[in-house]
């Protein structure tokens, strides 16, 4: 490898090499070591409710079919025929009653990816093909966490809840707030951004601060008519950084949801369901997340309260696709769901008033990184360095004020751990060593 991996990330001094966003060799290694070993979001229960419902997604650059089985469980397997490697299913989603049949030579696979029939099995294959050995390549581990289905290729990876670690407490702000959970608004957004996936993942992990600059125009444009002005916006918030690379940040008071997604969902989130949420996750988490950004390492992001949810699908060192959903409380009345739906379409979508400007930033960074000098000098991720704390009375773990880059440093440290460690036990040993420092 031309690049010296030890020079890429220094989380203690808060510096990162621009190469992590643009180097081809690093990207290939990343597909193997990060995406091949991390827990990746596959689907939400509500996207594939009925037996035979399938959703075509990716884990890294590998196409994967996620399929609801007849017994209600979920199978996930490589969307690739074992004969010549053809893509088994070319639809984005749908319902498959019988088999996934390869359109090249007709190998047919059951809903679980098992090879059930082969054309000319008796005459051309002489009945000698061991079908049990040639099923689709299964995603080794699949777990359903409160309706969110995740997969991991690596049999030695820790369980999903161990992988979440101390981030589970935070994830439940989104995953466990409502008695009947969440459901996805029908359909989704997919669009291409010519930039590295880490810009987006990092922003949802750590970056509340960019909003006031990147999104100033959207705040002005979307200000409710009766709003007292931008000065009423909150600045008091907390950021949490997991040594497993996950991160989040949130305002603990003040009006934000009134802007996005708007007053109707804001009232439902902050008033109507406050008692329900408090009963489920306690007062701190029920009240304390007034607009929040979250990322589960590496690429599963969401904004609790706003309710956009997305995966950053890597498509090369300088390219990704955003796959985004709108997650509404299943029990919310129709008019509340509708307000959430419209609120997110108009703010967090390719045409969204907020989202447009994020892409502009990330793409211009990527273009600049074609320059030799631009790739040579380290970038600064030092905001709030040395001001981390472990004693917040309300919010557990390693925290800082919400305008900091503690969680970015945590994310990049985890990334370089995965890039350099040969085994999951090594990765976990490094994590535990950092956790012991507190």
């Amino acid at each position: 490898m031309a690049v010296d991996l030890t020079t890429l990330v220094d989380s203690e001094t808060g510096t990162i090499s621009p190469l992590i966003y643009c180097d081809e060799e690093l990207y290939e290694l990343e597909l193997e070591r990060v995406f091949g070993r991390s827990w990746l979001f596959l689907a939400h229960d509500s996207m594939i409710p009925k037996a035979g419902d399938f959703f075509s997604t990716y884990m890294g650059e590998d196409p994967v079919l996620v399929v609801r089985q007849k017994d209600g469980s979920v199978a996930a397997f490589l969307n690739q025929c074992r004969h010549r490697g053809m893509r088994l299913c070319r639809a984005d989603s749908g319902n498959q009653r019988g088999a996934f049949t390869c359109t090249y030579h007709g190998w047919a696979y059951g809903l679980g990816g098992d090879l059930i029939s082969v054309t000319h099995e008796d005459d051309a294959w002489h009945g000698e093909l061991d079908k049990a050995a040639w099923g689709c390549v299964q995603v080794t581990q699949v777990e359903n966490y409160k309706g969110f289905i995740f997969g991991n290729w690596d049999p030695t990876a820790p369980s999903f809840t161990d992988y979440l670690g101390d981030f589970a407490w935070y994830f439940d702000v989104f995953a466990d707030r409502f008695d009947n959970g969440l459901e996805m608004v029908g359909g989704m957004h997919k669009w291409v951004l010519d930039c590295n996936w880490k810009f987006a993942a990092e922003q949802f992990t750590t970056d509340m601060q960019h909003a006031e600059i990147s999104h100033g125009s959207a705040f002005i444009a979307l200000m409710p008519d009766d709003f007292p002005g931008l000065a009423a916006m909150p600045t008091d918030g907390v950021q949490f950084s997991s040594e497993a690379g996950h991160g989040c940040g949130f305002f603990v008071d003040g009006p934000v949801l009134e802007f996005v997604p708007g007053p109707v969902p804001a009232r439902y989130w902050q008033e109507t369901t406050l008692e329900e949420a408090t009963r489920r996750i306690g007062q701190a988490r029920a009240e304390g997340f007034r607009a929040a950004h979250f990322n589960i390492f590496p690429t599963f992001s969401f904004l609790p309260g706003l309710q956009t949810m997305r995966v950053w699908q890597p498509k090369g060192p300088g390219k990704m696709e955003v796959w985004a959903w709108i997650a509404v409380p299943r029990d919310a009345p129709p008019e509340v769901k509708e307000a959430w739906r419209l609120g997110m379409i108009r703010t967090f979508s390719p045409g969204g008033q907020f989202e447009q400007d994020d892409g502009e930033n990330w793409l211009e960074i990527q273009k600049v990184l074609k320059g030799r000098m631009a790739r040579k000098f380290p970038l600064n991720a030092q905001m709030g360095l040395g001001h981390e704390r472990y004693d917040d009375p309300t919010f557990p773990g390693k925290t800082n004020t919400c305008y900091s880059e503690t969680a970015a440093r945590g994310m990049y440290q985890r990334w370089i751990d995965m890039m350099t460690c040969d085994s999951w036990s090594e990765i976990q040993a490094r994590q535990e060593k950092r956790e012991a420092l507190r």
Partner: protein, 180 residues
């Protein structure tokens, strides 16, 4: 000379011409970035909608487009369109500052009368070209279905409904910061 109306040509040449000129007028306003004048072409009850679109198996083609209560690229009313323009006017809408260069080309214009004598359904195909910054180039191809309504104000017509169908599934663009 008045042409006889047929099942394919259901409005007069004059009306067809007038409506085409309205479409071109709207396109010129967008190209010139006269967004407030453009917004003034819309009726207060406008519904401006661009559904999302998926790769489906032929037997499930009825689910190719998102439904009205599902995800969409645009689902706008007059107020939300106006706020999009407010954003552009702040001088801080970075995705459009410096602004894009856009050009709307329309073909296949078909005008169909509705039960309401002052409203016409207008179908057209479009090609929207966007050039941005140093080298960004994008093409959007699709079909638009408008309901145009005769009115006493402005240029004499207003847009009461707009449905935009894009001939892409995964959006091959960094954003939709322009108008269709």
């Amino acid at each position: 000379m008045t042409m006889e109306l047929t099942s394919l040509a259901r409005v007069s040449v004059e009306l067809q011409h007038e409506i085409e000129q309205f479409l071109y007028h709207e396109a010129a306003l967008l190209a010139e970035r006269e967004y407030r004048d453009w917004l003034d072409l819309f009726a207060p009850d406008i519904h401006y909608w661009m559904p999302t679109r998926y790769n489906r198996l032929r037997r499930e083609l009825h689910r190719e487009f998102s439904e009205p209560d599902e995800t969409a690229f645009f689902d706008e009313d007059y107020d939300s369109l106006s706020r999009r323009i407010t954003r552009l006017e702040t001088g801080m809408a970075w995705a459009e500052d410096p602004p894009s260069r856009t050009r709307h080309l329309f073909t296949n214009v078909r005008v169909i009368p509705t039960e309401n004598v002052v409203e016409f359904e207008v179908h057209c195909n479009f090609l929207l070209y966007r050039s941005r910054l140093e080298h960004d180039v994008e093409f959007f191809v699709g079909a638009r279905t408008d309901v145009l309504r005769r009115t006493d104000r402005g240029v004499g017509w207003e847009i009461a409904r707009r449905k935009v169908v894009l001939d892409q599934s995964t959006l091959n663009a960094k954003n939709l910061s322009m108008f269709f």
